[in-house]
Structures are given as C-alpha cells and as structure tokens.
Amino acid sequence: MKKADFLIIFIVLICSVLIYFSPTKQENYKILIYVNGKLKNEIDYNDSLNEKFTVSSEFGKNVVKIDKNGVKVTESTCADGLEIKQGYINKKGQSLICLPNRLVIKLKSGDEYEAVSY
C-alpha cells in the first residue's frame, strides 16, 4: 500500500458519505382520490401547492388539505375520524381511507417506471 492508495480510499469513502447525506429530491407523486371505488380526482403534487377542498358524495363529506407537508383530511362527517388522526401523508404508496364515507386517497408514483427488470 502506497500513499496514493490511501488517498483514493479516502476520496471514494468521502464521495460515498456525501452522496448518502445529500438532500434527496422532492418526490413527485400523484394524488388519486377515489369515492366508492371510482376515481374522482387526480392531482400532480408539488410542494408549492396549497389548497383545501371538499370531497362530497352520497356517503358523506371530507375536507382535504394539500400543502407543503403533504396531504391530510381536516374535516369529516364520519363518526370516528380515523383519517383525520392519521395526519399528513407524503410518501409514495401511502393512503388515507375513510370507510364510512367510502373515500380513499392514494399517493402514486409520478414516474413512468416503478420497476425495471434487467
């Protein structure tokens, strides 16, 4: 082992650590809102979005809030309000579900590819 060998080990390890701690890219995902199994609304998420809207149907009403932290349900006509207690969701594959109102809010990957086989 010579001097430059240690230098290379050092550089590669530093690169590894730098990439590991580099800020991850804002995930881009789609917010899919289903009522009674039917797709009602589809929104492309970005963190400048700041809106509040009501999803109403024959089963009940829910107020959905979208802001920089993610998506949450703030008000609901259902009895238990479990989806309100769940708070924000902001990762792909997470979902908010309100069974009495038959409401499902899903976050789906916005990228074209989810898996690639070699």
């Binding site: 010579k2 060998d5 230098l7 590669v12 690169c15 590894s16 690639v116 070699y118």
Partner: protein, 164 residues
Amino acid sequence: MKQFRINKIATISILVCVGIILGYIESLIPMFKILPGVKVGLSNIVLLYAFYKFSYKESLIIGILKAFLSALLFSGLMSFFYSLFGVFLSVVSMIMLTRLFKVNISVIGISIASSAMFNVGQIIASMIILLNTAPVYYLSILFFCSVINGMITGFITKILLNRI
C-alpha cells in the same frame, strides 16, 4: 512479428475466458449477493493483470469481449450495455491514475478506483435507461462496497503479478 501477434491473441483469449469463468463462479456464491448490484468483481483481476502486463488497449479489449460474451451466455444483452459503460470508465480511471501518480500508486489503489468507476458507469447506464436521476443515491452503498471489494481484488492481483 506474426508470431508475436498470434501469441498476443492467444493470451487475450485465455484472459477473456478466465474473466468469464471468474464472473460465473462469483455469481454461484450466494454470499456475495446480499446487496443487489454489489459484486466482488473477481473478473476485475483479469483487467488489472492485462493492464499491468500489457497496456490499456488489451485491458479494454478484454473488458468489452468479456462483457459481451458473459451477457450472451448468462444474462440478457441489457447487462452488456451496463458493463460497457463500466469497463470503459474503469479502464479510463486506470490510465489516468497511473499517469497522475506514476510510482506512488500500487495495484490496490488502482483496483479500488476502477471498481468504483465501474459502478459509476453502471449507474450512468441505468440513468440513461430509466431517464431518471434516482439511481445516483445507490452509488453511496456501491462506493462503500467498492473500497472493500477493490482491496480484495487488488491484493489478489498483487500476488498474481508477483508469481506469473
């Protein structure tokens, strides 16, 4: 002159064969398959050996032939695309480092650098295929493993160069 060329062709083809077999043996050992994409890279020994014994040209030829043949034999042609970038970048890093440090660098350092650059090439290839920058984050794990793997292959190559 003719004798010399035949000699070289034979040597290169033997090294390509050894490289393919080493790659195959490596894929049979499940211990090395803990993380996807992380391999000890035993066939890197052949590239390094060719680089030290002959020149970068032979190393590049062996790398490309080995990638092509092992893609045809074992995995799909897609892996040829991945390896091609890797082989090219790792040979370039070998040339650059030997020019830059001359006598101050040993086989081990070059082995580590080339295995790290092989991973960079693969990540670039996967970025082109996916059209996405997400694979970059996997480089962190790959770099860390390439230090260990590069040391292993570097030590083996050092022993090999002393004996043959």
